[in-house]
């Protein structure tokens, strides 16, 4: 937060809570202060849950004082992307086209797990409409802005989640990722975001964009925090048929040790460097990051990902088709009620044939098999998340965004990918490193990211906005 005396990460806050240095009420009120101060500019919240959050914070303090310790998330304020259901209020999906009765009065399983772990839900935050598209100023929702430069897009679709963590409106957030929607805002807002293995976290109570590509994941200030959140979010729930039966997470925080000896990391430069419009500092930042990973003990080797364009296209096609299939009946009646960015993109899903879609699924399977071969010679892959930092809202369209991002490759194959800050670019905007692993290697991915954050401090940088206003 703007107040340097407050803990920066969940891990630090957990220690401070137990040391009596802060209270959950104190942390939560500091979040409210940040929201009061910045939200008009940043457009993070759709709905604040101030009174219920304070009550939950007070309860957390009482529990901790009485010796009931629910773990590292106990008493920690979080923000929730407004496509995920919370009992406090309806889920709008940042749209005027939604069913207020959907999942009304209920928590999505992930929310129930966070609450059972003692987390404080501070409210629902802005998202691209139904997790796709761009803000439409004709619609009655805040326009989310990047705390690092409010003239720029914070990334999306988990825009409010990214901006809010970056500016201290909450200590962490839930986002979703279908083609990059956790990793892109994490990258642009200078925070950490994890798209874990597909099927590891239940998606019941989350409005779908592309059902075979969607993931709900944590957005945090540090990899250690993401590991703590994932440990709570992961694990089978029968409400979600996309999960392998009996799938379980792991105690990810215990897997973080800082030593990457014996870990082989492939670096894909071929598909990630040299793009027109790339930030001039991108390659240097990547080189520094690779050096840091090597310093942590990893063996690094240049490795090219197979079928990069093909899998990226398979992601976009699958997403469009599945999104259109979901919205078809509403779009038939209420086309113009959807935002321009959302409907112009999702409408393309109507134009694919069944054979096209089936072919895209085949390409996913072929690509996954080839990628599995790569992962037999390296343990992890590392590469930039995006080609440049956050773009200006001026002239921003979907084509420009697609040209900037390297994220969609990973959704069609379901591999875990972590995005973390790797330093600032030429214009002072954050750049981001992605670390990916084979399916269910989430622990190793987090371990590598945490090792990187022990040797670097990019993740501790805060937007100038916070310093300007002062403590």
């Amino acid at each position: 937060m703007g107040d340097a005396s407050l803990p920066f990460t969940i891990t630090e806050a957990a220690a401070a809570l137990r040391a009596g240095e802060v209270t959950s009420v104190g942390l939560t009120e500091a979040c409210f202060t940040a929201a009061d101060r910045f939200d008009e500019t940043l457009g993070v919240f759709i709905k604040r849950y101030d009174s219920t959050a304070l009550a939950a914070a007070a309860a957390a303090d009482a529990e901790l004082a009485a010796g009931t310790d629910k773990g590292v998330l106990h008493g920690i304020p979080l923000g929730i992307k407004d496509i995920i259901a919370c009992a406090e209020s309806e889920t709008t999906a940042n749209s005027v086209v939604y069913d207020p009765g959907w999942y009304a009065g209920q928590d999505a399983p992930v929310i129930a797990r966070l609450r059972a772990a003692g987390a404080i839900i501070t409210g629902k935050v802005t998202t691209m409409e139904y997790a796709i598209g761009l803000p439409d100023e004709t619609k009655p929702y805040p326009v989310p802005r990047n705390p690092w430069d409010p003239a720029t897009w914070p990334g999306g679709s988990s825009s409010g989640s990214g901006a809010g963590v970056s500016a201290g409106l909450f200590m962490a957030a839930l986002g979703t990722d279908t083609g990059g929607s956790i990793r892109i805002p994490a990258a642009f807002c200078g925070i950490t975001g994890m798209k874990q293995t597909y099927g590891l976290v239940p998606k019941a109570g989350c409005l779908p964009l592309g059902v075979t590509l969607d993931h709900i994941g944590p957005m945090t200030r540090s990899v250690a925090d993401a590991a703590a959140m994932l440990a709570i979010l992961a694990g089978f729930d029968p409400a979600d048929p996309s999960m392998p039966p009996g799938v379980a997470g792991a105690d990810y925080p215990t897997m973080l040790g800082g030593d990457l000896s014996g870990v082989r990391i492939g670096i894909d430069r071929a598909n990630h460097l040299g793009k027109e419009g790339a930030d001039p500092m991108l390659e240097a930042r990547l080189d520094e990051s690779v050096a840091a990973l090597a310093e942590a003990g990893a063996t690094v080797v240049d490795t090219t990902l197979p079928l990069f364009d093909e899998l990226t296209q398979a992601c976009m096609i699958t997403m469009a088709v599945e999104a259109f299939a979901f919205h078809r009946s509403w779009m038939a009646e209420r086309w113009g009620d959807y935002g321009l960015g959302m409907r112009s993109w999702v409408g393309t899903g109507a134009l694919y044939t069944a054979a096209d879609y089936a072919q895209a699924q085949k390409v996913r399977r072929i690509g996954a098999a080839k990628l599995a071969e790569v992962f037999s010679s390296v343990d992890l892959m590392a590469m930039p998340t995006c080609a440049a930092g956050s773009p200006s809202y001026d002239g921003l369209d979907m084509g420009a965004i697609v040209g900037l991002i390297y994220t969609p490759y990973w959704n069609p194959v379901g591999c875990p990918v972590l995005s973390l800050p790797m330093g600032l670019g030429a214009t002072g905007m954050p750049l981001s490193l992605s670390i990916a692993g084979p399916a269910f290697a989430d622990g190793l991915v987090l371990q590598a990211g945490d090792a990187f954050q022990r040797l670097t401090s990019h993740h501790r940088a805060t937007p100038p906005l916070l310093a300007e206003v002062g403590a």
Binding site: G199, T212, T353, A355, A368, A439
Partner: protein, 59 residues
């Protein structure tokens, strides 16, 4: 619904060219295909339902 335009367009997209007599049969049969699909679209709750194909990442 203009079955002829639709069927011809879909076959063009598919890269397949049935001869005219067979094209006529496809066009004649298409309304029944759409009617079958309409039956399926009438099933409630489907937008929120996952498809039967479950994607599993490589183990």
């Amino acid at each position: 619904m203009d079955a002829e335009t639709t069927v011809r367009t879909l076959f063009t997209l598919a890269g397949v060219t049935p001869p005219e007599d067979e094209m006529a049969a496809f066009i004649e049969g298409y309304p029944a295909t759409r009617a079958s699909l309409d039956l399926l679209y009438a099933v409630p709750d489907t937008p929120l339902t996952d498809g039967i194909l479950v994607f599993r990442p490589a183990d």
